[in-house]
């Protein structure tokens, strides 16, 4: 006795056609019937019989409904040697039949409810049955194959042995989920050796993600990184490091939902191709860990810039405004040249080139917003950015002035102003306007620009 079995079916999107499979043990079946039932109501929602030895049936798109659970059965038909002849003879009401066995030629009479003058023949080579007109006196034999027999209808129905599978496990139909990299697009350029690709997942019916994995390949196809299967779906990001400048990498993410829908960002055989060009400086985390495979160790390094800063206030503690700004307006330079109400930072290095940006409000006239001291042999340099207000043709305008002065401590009587440049002019801002003061020294040339950014909440 043949047996057939059905399989656990992964969740799929019912808006696309879907193939259902079964397997058999024993004789080859020549016909199959697929029945799909809704799991909740236990009602038959789809049934289709297929005359084929194929071990699968294709369910058309839109047959099932997303968000619903189903189960299915397969029924296999094994052909027997028994045929049933059905003849709707002219003048007879309804059909009549006679059971026959293949390979045997029968002669029918009216008693056998077959029209007079007809004989049933079986063609062993083609497997076809036909009723042949053998009325004596006729000019020739008349083939009346199934479906047409002149004024009579003749059909043959082969008898089958039927085997039905067990119910399949419940499966689900869900809309295709969104499963992609949220911060990677095909062809994009990464300007860094470090990058944190992140996976985005959502599903209309709320099916949850069970696991995910990120794989990065080099352009030649060798695996550069593999996160392994991860189950923390609240944090679907990894940190890559060591990507080479000028190299290209393929990014791929695979995943599986709780109802076993397989997810893959790969389209066909193609993954997302990303180029790495170091256009921006390497971002430093506070701590970085790198596997040193050739040395059997892990390199742990920190890039900690703990610049505490100091504040000097002539009127009590430094006051913060709304917790987002420091109030340094009560400033003056005392008789010893020391500055009060200021914040000061030290302990870092600046080379030939730098850019300093300040966002500030309510700048006091003639205050030096920025002062930077630079050590040099025999003398120190001071960069002072002053805030100036003046009237031009009756209009009040504001600008910044940079003075670079040298303090020669071999002759400490006075400073020498080496450079004095002024910024662009802007209308005098209100006390609430935020001013961006932008100072750059690039290869010995200075740029000083101010801009009124308006009221920034």
């Amino acid at each position: 006795m043949a047996t057939i079995s059905v399989f656990q079916k992964d969740a799929f999107d019912a808006t696309a056609s879907q193939s259902f499979n079964f397997a058999y043990a024993g004789a080859q079946c020549t016909r199959s019937k697929l029945d799909i039932y809704s799991n909740e109501e236990n009602e038959l929602v789809y049934s289709h019989t297929q005359d084929s030895i194929a071990l699968n049936q294709e369910v058309p798109a839109g047959t099932l409904t997303n968000g619903t659970a189903y189960y299915y059965t397969f029924t296999a038909y094994y052909p027997g040697d028994i045929y049933r002849l059905i003849i709707n003879a002219y003048g007879m009401s309804g059909g009549s039949y006679k059971t026959i066995i293949s390979g045997v030629t029968y002669s029918f009479t009216l008693d056998d409810t077959i029209p007079y003058g007809y004989e049933l023949c079986y063609n062993a080579s083609t497997g076809e049955l036909s009723a042949v007109h053998t009325v004596s006196g006729s000019s020739s034999l008349i083939d009346i194959t199934a479906g047409s027999a002149g004024s009579n209808d003749v059909s043959f129905d082969r008898q089958y042995t039927v085997v039905t599978s067990q119910q399949s496990p419940v499966f689900y139909c869900y809309s295709d989920p969104v499963f992609c990299f949220s911060n990677i697009t095909d062809g994009m350029t990464i300007g860094n050796a470090y990058y944190s690709p992140e996976i985005e997942y959502s599903q209309a019916e709320g099916e949850e993600l069970n696991s995910w994995q990120i794989i990065v390949y080099t352009y030649s196809g060798t695996e550069f990184y593999n996160s392994g299967t991860r189950y923390d779906v609240d944090n679907m990001s990894i940190t890559l490091n060591g990507m080479q400048d000028g190299a290209q990498y393929y990014f791929r993410a695979i995943g599986e939902t709780v109802d076993r829908t397989k997810l893959d960002t790969r389209t066909g055989e193609i993954d997302l191709l990303v180029s790495v060009v170091y256009s921006s400086p390497v971002m430093h985390g506070v701590i970085e860990a790198e596997n040193k495979q050739l040395f059997g160790s892990v390199h742990v390094s920190s890039h900690i810039a703990a610049i505490d800063g100091h504040s000097y206030c002539g009127n009590g503690d430094l006051r913060f405004v709304n917790g987002t700004a420091a109030d340094l307006r009560w400033s003056y330079r005392d008789d010893y040249g020391d500055v009060h109400d200021c914040v000061e930072y030290e302990g870092f290095e600046v080379g030939d080139n730098f850019t300093l940006s300040v966002l500030a409000r309510d700048i006091c006239p003639n205050a030096y917003v920025i002062e930077m001291g630079v050590e040099q042999p025999y003398f120190d340099l001071f960069y002072n950015v002053y805030w100036r207000l003046c009237d031009i043709n009756g209009s009040k305008v504001a600008f910044a002035e940079l003075q670079v002065s040298s303090y020669n401590f071999m002759d400490s009587r006075e400073n020498i102003i080496l450079v004095s440049i002024c910024s662009n002019m802007i209308d005098k801002p209100t006390a609430e306007d935020t001013i961006h003061i932008w100072l750059r020294r690039a290869n010995g040339n200075f740029s000083l620009i101010i801009e009124n950014e308006g009221v920034i909440s």
């Binding site: 430093h284 059997g296 390094s301 810039a305 730098f354 300040v358 309510d362 006091c364 801009e451």
Partner: protein, 304 residues
């Protein structure tokens, strides 16, 4: 002064610089305003923008946001309060941190860089994803954990000592067994004996045989020609009387001492194919802070 008839350096500022040179910045000061943000970078290629980078890159000099603090670094604590920094690790998924390194902060050092460090963790298991943490200790209490993840992977076997390690990836054979001494006592009037477990001894031991030759990372090959010298250093290392960590690529790792009375070297079909063999006995927990400290493989005592 007069020199060759000329008034050389006669002016007050004759020797002062007439161009603006560069040098080490030692101070930046802001005043006379309500300041919202101060950002400094050595980058001179980017366009003017008020959207300052959130992250900290190699060009960043300082970045102060004045969110109730004037700190301008990339951490939320004041370096002047940090007395010690610790490096910890744990296996991803585990909740138990193990301190693997501790560094006392030099309060007279450069405040901007004195907390930075480079540390090589030679005691990481193979095939394990770790989470490492930088932990500042402020006035005796641990501060925030700054973490990074990495998967530890390597090939072959490593024998790690307090100041050296040896490696082999050729012809490795190893065995290990769990030991728990028992006594079987047979009595006169009883059919079955008693099994007595005296003491708490419960440890592993085993043996390793491999061909040891120094690996040249520049050429990704073994220095076969100098393998003899390498084996001699290995033998001296194995018999230096100190504890070691023996770890294999597949995650097996033990804190061991070499327990064989001899280290054998046998050629195996070719004069350069020399296998060294030795026995080892587990003497502690390779994941225990205190065991590693007592073995001289960690500078952190543990339990603090």
């Amino acid at each position: 002064m007069f020199f060759s008839g000329y008034a050389f350096a006669g002016g007050a500022h004759t020797l002062s610089s007439s161009i603006v040179g560069s040098g080490t910045a030692w101070r930046v000061c802001a005043s006379g305003c309500v300041i919202d943000e101060l950002y400094g970078t050595t980058d001179i290629s980017s366009a003017r923008s008020t959207s300052f980078p959130e992250g900290w890159d190699e060009n960043t000099i300082l970045h102060a946001r004045y969110n109730n603090t004037i700190a301008a670094g990339n951490v939320e604590f004041y370096s002047s309060l940090v007395t010690t920094v610790r490096v910890k690790r744990r296996e991803v998924g585990s909740s138990e941190w193990v301190t693997i390194h501790e560094k006392i902060v030099d309060q007279n050092g450069n405040p901007a860089t004195q907390l930075s460090f480079d540390y090589y963790d030679y005691l990481a298991r193979g095939g394990v994803e770790y989470e490492y943490a930088f932990v500042p200790v402020l006035s005796g209490a641990e501060g925030d954990y700054y973490t990074a993840r990495v998967k530890s992977e390597f090939n072959g076997v490593y024998i790690v000592g307090y100041n050296a390690q040896f490696h082999s990836d050729i012809d490795i054979e190893s065995s290990n067994r769990r030991n728990r001494p028992v006594s079987i006592v047979q009595t006169i009037n009883r059919k079955y004996p008693f099994v007595i477990h005296n003491g708490q001894s419960n440890y592993e031991s085993g043996s390793v045989s491999a061909m040891f030759a120094e690996f040249d990372p520049a050429t990704c090959s073994f220095k076969i020609d100098t393998a003899r010298e390498y084996r001699k250093r290995l033998n001296d290392f194995l018999y230096d009387g100190r504890a070691k960590v023996l770890k294999f690529w597949d995650g097996r790792m033990w804190l061991v001492d070499i327990s064989s009375a001899e280290i054998t070297e046998m050629t195996n079909g070719h004069r350069q194919l020399v296998h060294s063999s030795f026995d080892w006995t587990e003497i502690g927990d390779a994941d225990s802070e205190s065991d590693l400290y007592l073995a001289g493989l960690s500078n952190y005592r543990g339990g603090e």
